[in-house]
């Protein structure tokens, strides 16, 4: 079953074409890392899929739903959730409140104002459970703005998975983290996204090989390769465009 499909997706900003006919087919349960040089359009791709930008042409399918041109909240309700490269949380709410906000829609509370949050046992339990999963249970009542950077990144992931979406998009989840943090964090992501369709944009090859069972290589707004890590590593086109660098080899070896 195909969870997410891009058909000849294009996006222009003014005259510049950033995404130039991207095609991708991700099966349900697959874990895909999207890699590519800076400015290749990886983040733009995520912004198109999640509804932040509208594509100039082409189609995006989430399962049986065509989602290109839909609003972010509509896409989210259909079961796709994303995280952001620059931490995007609710700074003046506590960790617990951040997570509780993120589970409310899924649990059907919508815009209700005739019930007290304190009485919503399912929402409270879900938020508590999430908090343990992302190991922030000790910071329950701390305002999100007062967390450390790594904790904020964890909260970002928590908010992303809270709604129970089947397709998860993570935009550089480990950006800006130290080596040891990255390692722990990769494990955490693997744990909390168990059984879901996962797409991550990532620069760190260690994370890529640790998280993904397939790699999509994006260069100049096109997906030039989409295969298992070994096959991608062996692909001459990819080697030429991206993987050949020493840094990448080194990171891959360390993973």
């Amino acid at each position: 079953m195909i969870a997410l499909q891009l058909k000849d997706l294009r996006k222009n900003f003014g005259k510049t074409e950033i995404i130039r006919g991207a095609n991708l087919e991700v099966k349900a349960g697959e874990r895909v890392a999207i890699i590519g040089p800076n400015g290749a359009g990886k983040s733009t791709l995520f912004n198109l899929i999640s509804g932040r930008f509208e594509p100039s042409s082409g189609e995006i399918w989430l399962g049986e739903h065509r989602i290109d041109g839909k609003k972010p909240f509509e896409i989210n309700r259909l079961g796709l959730s994303r995280s952001f490269q620059i931490t995007n949380i609710f700074p003046k709410l506590s960790v617990f409140e951040n997570l509780r906000c993120a589970v409310l829609w899924k649990l059907g509370y919508k815009y209700t104002f005739f019930e007290f949050l304190a009485d919503l046992e399912d929402a409270n339990e879900a938020a508590e459970k999430l908090m343990e999963e992302i190991r922030l249970d000790k910071k329950r009542d701390v305002l999100a703005m007062n967390l450390t950077y790594a904790e904020q990144r964890a909260l970002e992931i928590g908010i992303t998975i809270a709604g129970g979406a089947d397709v998860i998009l993570l935009d550089e989840p480990t950006a800006g983290m130290s080596k040891s943090e990255t390692k722990r964090f990769t494990q955490l992501i693997r744990q909390v996204t168990e059984g879901k369709t996962l797409l991550t944009v990532e620069h760190d090859m260690g994370v890529v090989f640790g998280l993904a069972d397939k790699i999509a290589v994006v260069v100049y707004g096109e997906v030039i390769a989409f295969d298992t890590p070994e096959a991608v590593r062996a692909n001459p086109k990819v080697q030429e465009a991206y993987l050949g660098s020493h840094v990448a080899e080194h990171q891959a070896a360390a993973a």
Binding site: P72, F73, N88, K92, L93, W105, K110, F113, E115, L117
Partner: protein
């Protein structure tokens, strides 16, 4: 886990909450017995009304991050509809006066429903601009449609209509006060309850980060719109109560000055805590009724206070209170109260000098015909003599000079207490 808190939090929650609500009810009950003069009771009624209005405003500003410059549109239009309902009741329509504020509420809600759809489509600066436009629009209309708005004279009515119910005629101000108090209590409780509902919390999330809210399944426009309608309802109730209280509604109730006052006093009271606007409302009535009696320059003083608040304590009075409560809970208030006394006395001295000069300028500009002499704080000043000016300037400079010294000492003491508290928290956590 209060490590990173900058303010005090009540624990255990429920005991404190019951105590506060009981106390609030008690204050509403007893206040007119303490301030039993006619002026006192009228002011208390106005405070109740202002509390509802400012809290409903803060639903937008503090909880939703929506800076509205036109909240008086909803209190004002609510007041007009309530007035027309009151006049209908006078002509025999079966509307009890007790429910007139509710008519105002429904009116405010209706107009928020109507105008809010456009207003809440955007957030941030655009939202602020649209509210400003709406306010001007409604004010301009109020001068055009005199059948509804009553033109320059406004619309007046008589609240003593219909059969007395249990001897309640709403003739005496005290009865109007208790009607206001009942509405105030219920409205404040309901607005507090709103902050603890799913929509209330998502509204906070929209304030913090509207973009992210879109990615957890919520349409931020809907969140803003629904909250705006609810705020409009409570604003309308405030307007309806004002109708019953004053028995006249003029176009200025939808004017931008009124909207500005809601903004200013909600901010002064503090938008970050639920009870902030309640303090703001009390100050608003004190300023409008009392301060304006004392001096012609009251708006100038108000502007100065607002300016200093924005610069030095952007969380308003409520955040100052909560910060010091935190201090008290760690037993450190003793260490700093001397500094507070110093700050207070020197500030008073500086202000006295400044105020003397301001009063002299106003006197020269407005009352020159009455001679150069004026009374200020028990002292006779001569606005044309160098002595008075020199003396005032001397008092002002001395006051503010000492204030600066006191402020430095205070900052030093404050930092000490904060270091102590941090250490204390670490110690307690280590136990």
């Amino acid at each position: 886990m209060a490590l990173t808190k900058t303010h005090y939090e009540f624990k255990p929650y429920n005991v404190a909450r019951w105590m506060i609500w009981s106390l609030f009810t008690l204050v509403l009950w007893v206040a007119p017995m303490v301030f039993s003069s006619n002026l006192g009771v009228t002011m208390l009624s106005q405070m109740g009304i202002a509390m509802i209005a400012c809290l409903s405003y803060n639903m937008l500003l503090g909880q939703g991050g929506m800076l509205s410059f036109g909240h008086a549109v909803y209190t004002g239009l609510g007041a007009y509809l309530a007035m027309h309902a009151l006049n209908a009741a006078s002509s025999g329509a079966p509307i009890p006066v007790t429910l007139i504020p509710l008519v105002g509420g429904l009116g405010g809600m209706f107009f928020a429903f109507l105008l809010g759809y456009v207003t809440t489509r955007k957030s941030g600066t655009t939202f602020a601009m649209i509210t400003l436009g709406m306010a001007e629009l409604v004010f301009a209309m109020s001068l055009m449609f005199s059948e509804f708005f009553g033109g320059e004279a406004g619309v007046s009515g008589n609240r003593v209509v219909g059969q007395a119910f249990w001897g309640i005629t709403y003739g005496p101000p005290l009865q109007v006060y208790y009607l206001t108090a009942a509405y105030t209590l219920v409205s404040v409780a309901l607005m507090y309850a709103f902050t603890r509902t799913p929509l209330g919390r998502i509204l906070n999330a929209v304030r913090d980060n509207p973009e992210r809210v879109e990615f957890i399944g919520y349409n931020t426009q809907h969140v803003r719109y629904i909250s705006f309608i609810i705020a409009g309802f409570f604003a309308g109730i405030a307007g309806g109560l004002a109708t019953v209280n004053f028995e006249i509604v003029t176009a200025e109730v939808v004017g931008s000055a009124r909207s500005g006052a809601y903004l200013l006093f909600t901010f002064l009271g503090g938008a970050t805590f639920f009870f902030g606007p309640i303090i703001g409302a009390v100050l608003m009535v004190l300023a409008f009724v009392l301060l304006s009696e004392f001096t012609k320059a009251w708006l100038l003083y108000l502007g100065l206070v607002f300016l200093f608040m924005v610069m030095f304590a952007p969380g308003g009075i409520s955040s100052l209170i909560m910060m010091n409560l935190r201090l008290a809970s760690f037993g450190r208030l003793r260490q700093i109260w001397v500094a507070y006394v110093g700050l207070g006395l020197t500030a008073l001295l500086g202000l006295a000098g400044t105020a003397a000069m301001i009063e002299m300028i106003y006197h020269l500009q407005l009352n020159a015909a009455m001679g150069p002499e004026l009374k200020f704080a028990g002292v006779t000043l001569n606005a044309l003599s160098t002595g008075s000016w020199f003396g005032s300037a001397f008092v002002m400079i001395t006051g503010f000079g000492l204030f600066e010294l006191a402020r430095r000492q205070y900052l030093h003491d404050w930092d000490d207490t904060q270091v102590f508290i941090e250490k204390e928290i670490k110690r307690r956590e280590a136990l």
